[in-house]
Amino acid sequence: LRSRLADYQLLGPAGPSSDSWLATAPARIGISEPVVVTELAPGDWPARAARLSSLAAVRSPWLPRLIEAGETDEEDGPVAWVVRTDGRAPAVSGPASDPESVLRGLAAAARGAHDLHEAGWVHGDIRPGAILRRGDDTLLEPPIRTVATPGRTIPSGVTPADLDPLDPATVWGEGPSRSSDIWALGATAHRLLTGTHVHPALPDDPIVTAVQRVLVEVPVVVSSLPAAVAELLRSCLAPDPADRPGTAADLADGFTRAAGR
């Protein structure tokens, strides 16, 4: 395990299943609170830096701010990294004990996604671990990996849990879009509210079979959810993107209304 990356002192994983690090920022950054460092494979630097810089221009109260990015030579070779302000993913276990609070958090995440969409970015990696908490606030993790590695619909080393929020239209259709992020928000909401996946019982091995199943399988919304919430999630998971909420902001309004019931 690393203890340093560039001049950041790494404190530990940024979440229960996170591949990012909580870190102490060096004095030059001027931030006393912990920051989060995401490690990436090096490569394609000028274009990657340009994309990250454009992503950093998105101003949203529902997104952590990007601070800096770099490539450095570490003990085990060159490493690329991106640093953002704090915000950590809590562990997801069973059904939400406070569904109204979860729905309000999902509304915040959806508004973060909408701000990305309005700035021309698809998130492409919305999942339970991308819903972050910072104090009383809920934030959406910036799509650092998606932006750093464009063109790939599913990355290497995925698990069945990673596949659950995948809109088949991401693969069959014309790539990630507003509507595929809305699908992912719906699947993520289902996981956080019920503790279960919309593609239950995907096989771990071989992963190819799991990918094939999520591409053709109809997602399942559990019947124990309140009717209005279940209907909202089903609309997110509709096969035809035209049947889903038009924008993530519309979905955020739906989450907010559901939280107020």
């Binding site: 340009a50 810089s53 221009a57 998105v58 800096e68 021309g120 464009p150 990355p155 992963i207 035209a242």
Partner: protein, 440 residues
């Protein structure tokens, strides 16, 4: 002397912020115009503003092209040269050669050396004339215009020492592509740059060695989006202090207590792009046209489809066949779950960027990691009508396929394309990929 920017008559918009000049065609959306204005404003004061804005836009376009048909051209300085990004039906003349994105729609990033000036305008635009000592000069702002001529000022990178305006002979221009008609352009020494005839956006346009699709930054340099600076000497992590380290975003070298190969401040990122489109799925109209049938909701499907791949509704047998842009033909799923969409031809290998088609953006590269014998450009996927074909690029390790119902692997004959039906498994360099498709 500062650069001079002459606005040409016609439809469109010309804008200038500092060293950045942009022409935008009338087909561009207000959101795209706003994006370009803001981006140019952000970097216009930088000596490397051209590199910054071009890489910024190229970064967005490499992920997604929101308006493939919108013509625009951006030019700005990059140290000792000029750099341009041309998008859509647009053309550039630098005094000796034409540049235009090919194929269309598409975009092109290139370095140029004004000889002695650069003109940018719509493909097929009228012939602009550069007049020495012209009083017309857009110093800053956004105005209507059908194109522009940029005349670098003294000290700017040009080849004016060889062909100054108003003095001395100018090198003969590179001949126009044979597909063009009418008189070829002639550069009148010092007075006129003649666009000549319509530029065909086909492959005959000079897109040769001057076009650099790769990174414009040498290894070892650092981008901070305020300037391009040298990384400076590496500092020992164990002994260096943070004292004297500049804040991110400053123009000073980011000499931190780490040996940076690259570094970029992000806190003051450049402008974000235009909003994503809303609504349902839309297949880009520039895809090859194929025959198919439509479901009751109008979704375009394979002619043999019985169920709509988009909405799941039944497709009534006997539906009349129509033409439409070809949808995604399926996906390749690797043995580690990594998945690639089959919406374009692809080269598979350990480093497909070495392939010229991949390097120029004509073909997509799929990088596979393998402990086996995997060539940099090992095999190729080609899409034709509704069919997916696999071709071995003469690799030493070979490419193998097992089709549905077959019992063993078959090695492909090099350079002999083979149609692979959905459900086929492909093997190269000890990696196995599965082709899946929603189509019959």
């Amino acid at each position: 002397m500062s650069d001079r920017l002459e606005v040409l008559p016609g439809a469109g918009t010309v804008l200038r912020h500092g060293s950045i000049a942009v022409w935008i065609g009338p087909a561009a959306s207000p959101a795209l115009l706003s994006f370009l204005v803001q981006s140019a404003d952000n970097v216009g004061a930088s000596a490397h503003g051209g590199l910054q804005i071009v890489d910024h836009i190229a970064g967005i376009l490499s992920s997604r092209d929101p308006e493939p048909g919108a013509p625009f051209g951006v030019i700005g300085p990059s140290g000792t040269t000029w750099i341009t990004l041309l998008h859509g039906p647009v053309q550039l003349w630098d005094g000796t050669r034409w540049l235009a994105p090919t194929p269309q729609p598409g975009w092109l990033r290139a370095e140029v050396q004004p000889q002695p000036a650069v003109s940018i305008g719509a493909s097929g635009g009228s012939s602009p004339r550069l007049v020495a000592d012209s009083p017309y000069d857009l110093r800053a702002g956004t105005v209507p215009g059908g194109g522009m001529i940029l005349v670098p000022g003294a000290g700017r990178p040009t080849r004016a020492e060889r062909s100054p305006v108003g003095a001395g002979p100018t090198p003969a221009p590179t001949p126009l592509p044979s597909a063009a008609t009418g008189p070829r352009p002639v550069t009148d020494p010092g007075t006129v740059i003649d666009f000549g005839t319509v530029v065909d956006a086909g492959p005959a346009i000079d897109s040769g060695p001057a076009i650099d699709p790769g990174p414009a930054v040498d290894p070892g340099t650092v981008i901070d989006f305020g300037t391009v600076v040298d990384a400076g000497p590496a500092i020992d992590v164990g002994t260096a202090t943070a004292a004297g380290v500049p804040a991110p975003g400053s123009s000073a070298p980011p000499v931190g207590p780490f040996a940076a190969r690259h570094w970029s401040a992000l806190r003051d990122g450049t402008a974000a792009g235009p909003p994503l489109p809303t609504g349902g799925r839309v297949t880009p109209a520039d895809r090859p046209q194929v025959t198919g049938v439509r479901c009751i909701r109008g979704h375009f499907n394979h002619p043999a489809a019985r169920t709509c791949a988009w909405c799941g509704r039944a497709v009534t047998p006997g539906q009349p066949q129509t033409f439409g842009p070809r949808p995604v033909l399926g996906a390749l799923i690797a043995d580690d779950g990594a998945t690639w969409r089959l919406d374009a031809d692809q080269v598979l290998g350990s480093d497909p960027t070495t392939d010229q088609g991949v390097a120029t953006g004509r073909i997509r590269g799929v990088v596979l990691a393998s402990a086996g014998q995997l060539a940099p450009s090992h095999a190729e996927i080609r899409l034709s009508d509704w069919a997916v074909t696999l071709l071995d690029r003469g690799s030493a390790g070979g490419t193998f396929v097992v089709q549905p119902g077959a019992t063993g692997w078959t090695r492909l004959t090099p350079y002999q394309p083979v149609v692979v039906p959905a459900g086929s498994h492909l093997s190269l360099g000890q990696r196995v990929l599965t082709f899946v498709s929603p189509w019959p």
